[in-house]
Symmetry: C2
């Protein structure tokens, strides 16, 4: 690898390569599980994946690897790349080195039991069934936080597991900005003159054949610059993207034959993830600099493509005739404006995964506040349903009638993943700030109106994708945009875009 000369780091890279190869093996086991696996093969596949995960853990715990990393931490005069390698190794290693193995095993035991009861609790709208599990999970997560260490807020240690260096204080600053701007703006939208949440051509009865959706999707994905000699698009129940090698990035999609928007937007979203991975400097392959730097930045790229490109009104103007050429009968009489409203419909609702671009971040803010207060003992687990309802009303203006639609809706807590959610909202902020500087070089709206997506992809390759995990998110965003992260780019983008769509006068 270029700019790596330090002999300790070189040895670390050799050892890390095995971890990387095995990680990609597990990625293939997972991809195949979701795309191909015969029904009766799942138990064996779980066993196989767990075994490979164990082998990977053993590599991290290997005493030679560990002492090399210790040595690397005291090396002087490292290059940018070398420093990043050590930093990333420390970042991943901390869960292995700082948290006792027994706690990790207990966590696995608790969460696998929790998952089963969470599912039933959600089905039966019975929080009581999940409550003891959540209590244990919170307890274990607090212990994990203690082992990992933090300055003032234990929740910071959990946030950092998913989004390096993110703190609750930073989330609070950014999310308060989002709340301040968007909570009143959403009310303006729903009270605007022509507001409606009905779309006449998406009604559960109109049929959009899968084969046509597939053609539109392949066309779009190719226009985005996805290289089929370095990846694939397949079908799975829940769309996802996975990296099986430096030249093997695979996305999946899912076709609903009553709503052609789903495969289109999810495909553009997943391709956004894939383009990030495909654009990374190939010199980083099989090193700790491989792959996108964080969940948040990854979600930044995917949501950028999904919302700021795929659901950009100008791009929707470009694709309207394409949709209409396939669905001439189904979309008879439908014009650009209606199609734009269908894709950019704003509708405050209870369920995060169905949320639109404007309300989505508020769903995350809700979860951030819940988690931060639960971890810090300001909300007791038993009071979580009530707290959820209150926050939902305040943030979204809607109140869940059942806990299934409220505190029980997401699987993340059952998995023990407290600290995960904020990365989703960070993605929106990263994307908008990146867009604001991209627009200085690329006339995004004009290009999208013509269906030119490559200038966008090329700009991202050059200015962001290539860096892989060389910079941590906060450094990366400064490097790309020249400024530290702020919420204003996002809220201004949202207010401008949706004011136009909904005909809302701005000052």
């Amino acid at each position: 690898m270029k700019n790596v000369n330090n002999p300790t780091i070189k040895k670390l890279l050799e050892k890390y390569k095995e971890i990387s190869l095995l990680g990609k093996v597990n990625a293939l086991l997972g991809w195949d599980l979701n795309v191909n696996l015969p029904r009766q093969a799942s138990a064996f596949r779980s066993e196989q994946s767990a075994y490979i995960a164990e082998v990977i853990t053993d590599k991290w715990l290997d005493s030679k690897f560990r002492s090399l990393l210790e040595k690397a931490n005291s090396e002087k005069d490292l290059t940018l790349e070398e420093k990043a390698i050590v930093r990333n190794l420390n970042f991943t290693a901390k869960i292995y080195y700082k948290v006792p193995k027994e706690l990790i095993i207990e966590n696995e035991k608790v969460t696998s039991g929790a998952f089963i009861d969470w599912r039933t609790a959600k089905e039966e709208n019975n929080f009581k069934k999940f409550q003891p599990h959540l209590t244990k999970i919170v307890e274990i997560d607090k212990q994990i936080a203690e082992h990992l260490g933090y300055k003032s807020n234990p929740y910071d240690a959990l946030l950092d597991l998913y989004e390096p260096e993110l703190t609750a204080a930073e989330c609070t600053r950014l999310f308060n900005g989002i709340k301040k701007e968007l909570v009143p703006f959403i009310k303006k939208i729903t009270k605007s003159k022509d507001y409606t949440d009905q779309i006449k051509f998406i009604n559960g009865l109109t049929h959009y054949p899968k084969a046509d959706q597939e053609k539109i999707l392949n066309y779009t994905v190719e226009k985005m610059g996805f290289d089929f000699s370095r990846g694939r698009v397949d079908i799975s129940a829940h769309p996802f993207t996975t990296t099986l090698g430096p030249h093997d990035i695979r996305t999946t999609t899912f076709y609903s034959e009553t709503d052609f928007r789903e495969s289109f937007t999810s495909s553009v979203h997943e391709t956004g993830h894939a383009l990030y991975e495909l654009g990374i400097n190939s010199d980083f392959a099989s090193t700790p600099l491989e792959g996108g730097v964080s969940l948040g930045v990854h979600e930044g790229m995917s949501r950028f493509w999904e919302n700021m490109v795929g659901k950009n009104p100008n791009f929707l103007r470009f694709v309207t005739p394409i949709f209409k050429s396939f669905y001439d009968k189904q979309l008879a009489g439908v014009d650009e404006a209606e199609l734009i409203k269908a894709f950019d419909l704003v509708k405050p609702s209870l369920i995060r995964i169905h949320a639109d671009e404007v309300t989505y971040s508020l769903h995350i803010v809700l979860r951030f506040e819940m988690e931060n207060e639960i971890i810090n003992g300001k909300i007791a687990v038993k009071d979580a349903p009530e707290a959820w309802r209150e926050k939902s009303k305040k943030l979204l203006g809607v109140e869940p009638k059942t806990d299934s639609e409220g505190v029980l809706q997401d699987v993340h807590w059952a998995y023990g993943n407290l600290g995960y959610f904020p990365a989703y909202a960070m993605g929106n902020l990263y994307g908008a700030q990146v867009l604001s500087v991209m627009q200085k070089k690329v006339n995004v709206d004009k290009e999208l109106l013509r269906g030119n997506l490559l200038p966008v992809k090329n700009w991202l390759d050059e200015n962001l994708h290539q860096y892989g995990s060389l910079y941590f998110p906060s450094e990366l965003i400064k490097k790309v945009t020249g400024k530290p992260l702020d919420y204003t780019y996002f809220t201004e983008y949202i207010i401008k875009k949706y004011s136009e769509i909904y005909g809302i006068a701005t000052k």
Copy 2:
């Protein structure tokens, strides 16, 4: 596992399980390579597979594993299963324990160079280019044989690598029988009154759409009893079958739109392999008793289904109306007899992989004789092309005009696999001997005429498949048929079947 109580064997099973899990990981890497891999991903995939293979080698070489196996070898009063476990571990371990690692590495180096020059040599019809490689390969194989050990013929050590306990003397006995019976019989066929090698409806111009072939194939594969909840059928350039887990057996096929016979016969062949694997006692999963016992027995099952079922004239009578329902125009006026002759065409030719059921074994006899004489210094490598031509004329009645169609046609020698070929012919003998006893319980011809394939599959499950690798081939065949292996079942089967098809009077 049932009937395993010995503590040393139990420990061995624990350790072997890791080897087995990793082996199945490599099987998935290989399956995905052939079925899905994006073009630019192949270099990384090779690296990944090589790495997993290395991890597996390390497990075999692990000193604890080795001393456990040594200890197991001196244990007394073992059960049938325990003995088989130790025997199978010794069988696989010998290449790791007896052959020096440097020789294995040299072999890999030589064969990877040989493959590239073999390809060019074959393209350019230039044996001289391949000759030095083959000389080295023979030299290395002789050294490997010395390390492995043998009684009187070094070639035995190589045969045993692919078909446990097979010897050159046994091959000679069996293959001489095949020669004696089939060489004159083939002449009778080609001189029979109505003999022709022209098939009017397979002419390179008539089109048989892939989608129809796929329907026929899925129908047939399901009739054979292939369980799609425990396996898949996909597409690859060269059809193959692979075991990714005890409940995950995958076959592939390839569609030629000018010849519908190819996907049909190759699919029935591969499904034969799959049914064997699917039928194995699930208690053997992830132990050294998993999987079919040998290449020869596996080929026995696949060729049984391909030739003795798929190309059985009665089964072809059953499927004729099905083919005609899809290809009503293409097969207009074609009757059962013509379809049978198309599938059971006997035509002495130069290329093994296109050979029919009758001449196929003679292609193998040729290769066996060549290898046995080369290893024993009776044919010099430089004289191999001439020896091949002579044997081809004697055995098949046809003489290659070029070495590309002769001694250079197969890749196996370039891979260093001397000793591999005889297993193919052994498969024919196993299959025919099994059929002879099956027919005492199952009226095969009558069932096939009605399209009933399950009685055949069920008989094989009960009498052969279930045993996996519990018995070595010679024991297995005695267990299943009550008698040691002989060639007469095969030659009698061939002579009866083809005398009827070609209207040849038998004494």
